[in-house]
């Protein structure tokens, strides 16, 4: 008898404990929900603040010139595409389409050249031993730390003597020879995080260094390579100084210079045209970024895994 009553005590005690645990659990869930709500509100607020200029830009590009300065909100009262139509025509003999074409003529060879040359150089640094390797890699890092402006003048003189001024060559060629130390560095770091076993297996399978690079390393490097291409795409699209220095005829201007052109040549600035063209100018980069976002982030973070 005593045994049984004792046992039932334990059961009720257990039930009490259980109810308590359930209450605590419910409390925890509620707290988690509240803190999540707070977190999202803050994030949303800050996000909006950061995006505001962009939203304003898009809104203002549909406003009339008069409204832009009169109305601080970003919703146009009388939406008009006049800015786009007129802006596209530009004040030069060429339409804005010509400038886009020029931009792509600069960007595409440059991106391809960068991807190929930086992969080769990074592969060399990450996987081979050769004399003066430390010194050479040190100089790559040094270039990384060197301010760009320092090399502008000697570079300009060099390209002038080569007779390359007012052509796309000064913009293409350095990239085709792995001139962008940052990308080399990024790919080297990424490669170091990839174990070399697969490449050794490929060598045992009979691949030479080139075949190993093309069939094994490049596919594994793909996320990092996509990041490299994206960066190069965006930086070149936005590059103002390079084309400004080397390109002098208007028919070769990329969009970044063309935008500036419309500010220069119009006395009373047609702000809505400028804004409309600015919106068009950032669109390709945005589209490419969102399409490749997944790989882009993968490439950046994987490169950060221990060296």
């Amino acid at each position: 008898m005593t045994d049984i009553s004792h046992a039932s005590d334990v059961i009720t005690a257990g039930a009490d404990g259980l109810a308590e645990a359930r209450a605590a659990n419910a409390r925890q869930i509620r707290n988690a929900k509240i803190s999540a709500a707070v977190r999202y509100i803050i994030l949303f607020g800050v996000g909006l603040m950061m995006l505001y200029p962009l939203i304003w830009l898009v809104g203002a590009s549909f406003k009339t010139n008069a409204e832009i300065f009169a109305n601080p909100g970003f919703v146009p009262q009388e939406p008009t595409t006049e800015g786009y139509v007129k802006g596209w025509e530009t004040s030069t003999p060429y339409t804005f389409g010509r400038f886009f074409l020029n931009s792509f003529l600069i960007i595409i060879p440059k991106v391809i050249g960068t991807a190929i040359s930086c992969t080769m150089v990074a592969y060399g640094f990450a996987r081979f031993d050769f004399p003066l390797k430390k010194l050479l890699f040190g100089s790559v890092i040094a270039i990384l730390l060197l301010p760009n402006v320092v090399t502008r003048i000697p570079q300009y003189l060099l390209f002038r003597d080569l007779g390359w001024l007012d052509s796309f060559l000064p913009l293409w060629v350095p990239s085709a020879f792995a001139g962008d130390a940052f990308f080399v560095f990024m790919l080297v770091q990424f490669l170091r995080a990839i174990p070399g076993d697969m490449e050794e297996a490929a060598r045992v399978d009979g691949a030479n260094s080139w075949q190993t690079l093309v069939f094994i390393v490049v596919p594994m490097l793909a996320p990092a390579l996509i990041s490299v291409c994206l960066f190069q795409f965006m930086w070149t699209m936005n590059d103002f100084l390079g084309p400004l220095i080397y390109i002098s005829s208007v028919d070769k201007y990329p969009v970044s210079l063309a935008l500036k052109l419309s500010i220069d040549t119009t006395e009373a600035f047609e702000w809505n045209r400028i804004l409309a063209m600015s919106v068009l100018t950032i669109t390709p980069a945005l589209i490419v970024f969102f399409m490749a976002q997944k790989y882009f982030i993968e490439g950046l973070s994987a490169g950060g895994v221990k060296g």
Partner: protein, 368 residues
């Protein structure tokens, strides 16, 4: 189809650290040679030199009648299986298997036939269209094995291929690999194998012969049985066999082996075998050959007993040194444990005498 010979093979890393000290090894055609030794003894280094993945500092590697020192890995007619499989992560299993053939410009139809054949042997047909990340460890290792097999190499190299698998899978893969080796031999294309492991069970069960290494030196090359019965030195004696061989330090005086206050009289069984009589000696005797005895024998103090089922491992202190002996379960039950003292008689027919200075076994009948 090929014999593998290493002669005076040396490896110096970075101009300073000597990892391999001029080793000689002769692996017969169709032989399964296991390289075994503690971590860092340069098993992988040796294997990688054979594969051509590591440069040879000096010495010669011969496969068949070719000296392969200067050949790239792909031209050595070898295949290698890596510890972590090293499958190409972006290729389906099918392409992983066929990659080597593709590089060798084997026609597509032939390649596919070879893939099917290998997949059938290794039972990986359902996996052919998967990516490596969709495979379990055991499956991945079978694919890695297939990638080696498909090339019909003259020499197979394995670097701890099973150490990432769980115990059960390891046992079944062990059988699979040895079966495969036998099968190739039966089919008339015997393949020479060099298999690196640090697991002595793998070494003892798989190897035709075993090469025991330590610090870049070869300690002994022999069949599993010979290694166990006639270890050439203290290192091999301690490395092979489980539980470990008891090594009891002492002095030899005449026909007596003295340890502390106790004496073992060496009988003809040992004395006739000994080709030297080192002063500072060590007596090596496997736990199985230390018998519990009733009245006489060495006295030791029992410390603990490990029950293993049909037998019991007894750990005891003999003159300040821990020794192990194996007793049958019934024998253990019958043992009088009241005063913690046990009496042990070594079976001298199976005892070894080692020179403590050089570590050499002086009780081995000299070769010949």
């Amino acid at each position: 189809m090929a014999r593998l010979q290493l002669s005076k093979l040396e490896k110096v890393y970075g101009g300073a650290f000597k990892a391999v000290h001029g080793i000689d090894l002769d692996v017969q055609e169709g032989e399964f040679m296991v390289l075994v030794g503690p971590s860092g003894c340069a098993k992988s280094t040796t294997l990688r030199m054979i594969a051509g993945l590591e440069e040879v500092t000096s010495g010669e590697i011969r496969i068949g009648d070719r000296i392969v020192n200067a050949l790239p890995p792909g031209k050595r007619r070898i295949a290698m299986v890596f510890q972590n499989y090293a499958l190409y992560p972006h290729m389906k299993v099918r392409s992983n298997l066929a990659f080597g053939l593709r590089l060798a410009h084997v026609p597509k139809a032939e390649r596919e036939a070879a893939v099917r054949e290998v997949a059938r042997i290794l039972e990986i047909e359902p996996l052919l269209d998967r990516l490596p990340k969709q495979l379990s460890g055991g499956q991945a290792q079978r694919v890695a094995l297939g990638r080696a097999l498909i090339k019909k190499p003259e020499v197979f190299l394995f670097d701890e291929p099973l150490s990432n698998l769980d115990a059960k899978l390891r046992a079944s893969m062990r059988v699979r690999i040895t079966d495969l080796h036998k099968r190739l031999k039966a089919e008339g294309r015997p393949s020479t194998v060099v298999y690196v492991t640090h697991d002595q069970t793998e070494a003892m069960t798989m190897g035709d012969r075993i090469c025991v290494m330590k610090d870049g030196h070869i300690m002994q090359v022999a069949t599993p049985k010979e290694l166990y019965d006639r270890p050439a030195n203290l290192f091999v004696a301690g490395f092979i066999g489980s539980p470990e061989m008891n090594v009891i330090d002492g002095e030899i005086e005449g026909t007596d082996f003295r340890l502390g206050g106790q004496v073992i009289s060496l009988d003809e069984a040992v004395l006739n075998r000994m080709h030297a009589k080192p002063q500072e000696a060590a007596l090596g005797i496997r736990p199985q050959h230390m018998k519990l005895s009733a009245g006489n024998g060495l006295t030791a103090r029992l410390r603990s007993a490990e029950f293993m089922g049909h037998e019991v491992y007894l750990h005891a202190m003999l003159e300040g040194k821990e020794i192990t002996t194996v007793a049958g379960a019934a024998e253990y039950d019958a043992l009088d444990r009241s005063d913690e003292r046990i009496r042990l008689t070594p079976d001298l027919a199976h005892a070894h005498i080692f020179d403590r200075a050089s570590g050499a076994n002086v009780s081995l009948p000299l070769a010949g």
